[in-house]
Amino acid sequence: MSRELQDKAKELLEKEEVAQVIGYGAGTRRSRARPIFITSPEEASQLIWTPACVNNLAVYLTRKETKVPGRVAITAKGCDARALFVLIQEKQIRREDLNIIGLACRGVLSKKALDQGKGDLDEETLSAKCKVCLVHTPVEFDFLVGEKIDSPEPSSDPYEVIADLESRSPEERWEYWQGELSRCIKCYACRQACPLCYCNRCITEKSIPQWIEKSPHARGNLAWNIIRAFHLTGRCVGCGECERACPMDIPLMLLNQKMAREVKEQFGYVAGMNYQMEPALATFDPKDHEDFIR
């Protein structure tokens, strides 16, 4: 499969259909992969596609350091492609500027598995987000590496702790989250890793007034994590990069998955599946429910 990918990338660069290919190359650590940026056909042989290809490369499309004039080809798993579609929906990139090299994906390795140096994909090493994946084949692509794979019904819910938390009292939930968020050091790795956190000036960087306190104390941590989760509501595609990048192992996906489920339940909307649609929180239906309003 890596071969198919390399050939395609080489072709695109030789024919000058794209100025750059963003994909995965081998990392310096055992079994790892990392983002690479290819601009000449000879470099195409560096591209790989393995279960260690965890990064969401869409994050590079909104960073000025990795933008090049002209079209860009990007290798995208289903979740990465969803992020691309939200960026298109939000007018941050244009579909015609992208050549999407879709990757038919059976899943990637979890952070824990990678830390332990494991390279083989199985039930134990599979990343949690993959267990509830809807898009083993990207929804749209210009070229597909591998055969189309249908997403199976999830056999279990890796985020079942969400339902468990929902069944507890507010005090218990508060204790749980205060505990988890106490480890937050406000490094903003979650924000930087997220392809959809592309604001030139994040709300935390507004200092007049300082809406979100910069300090990593309990109050500042709560404000940051609530607001980030909310700014991603209806937009988050569940790629899990935030949780993977977090150096303090905070279960950020619980917040994001919870909100994604809310948006699906309340408005029947799932982010990144159809870029012709309006984002859920950017639009409304006069018949939206208001059972919570007196």
Binding site: E172, I227, K258, F292, R294
Partner: protein, 162 residues
Amino acid sequence: MESKERETEMGLTRGAGSKEGGNGWEPKITAFVCNWCTYAGADLAGTSRLKHSPQIRVIKLPCTGRIDPLFILKAFERGSDGVLVSGCHPGDCHYTSGNYHARRRFATFRKLLEFLGIDLRRVQFSWVSAAEGAKWAKMVNEVTRQVREMGPFEGYRKISDG
């Protein structure tokens, strides 16, 4: 002295002008209301001499669509025990659709707050039109009563430390 005590003493966070639940403590409720409907309704309650709980502090905004969920968080950070958000009825928004956007926004934001352990009786929403002075008074009394029953927002009080 420790920064937590200092913050309380300076009235920055919990405790400004109020005492622990029990000793004559009264809840602090912050209301974010829209200018064209609810604020006018509150005005009408006033001119009609309708009595309601004085614990409410009203912040007027042009439209509920302008209310950033961050305001609700800030209200709690700065010592509110409860927050009320109120605006025009659907279809009556002075800016046509501001309240529709607000509706979706708050429908989801409140679930996030709930998930993080905030009791939703502390964050309430209503549509109050310019003619509904009585409804405004009723809402204020209702929210104040519920929050008073629940007591001070201990959660936020505890995390306001240095």
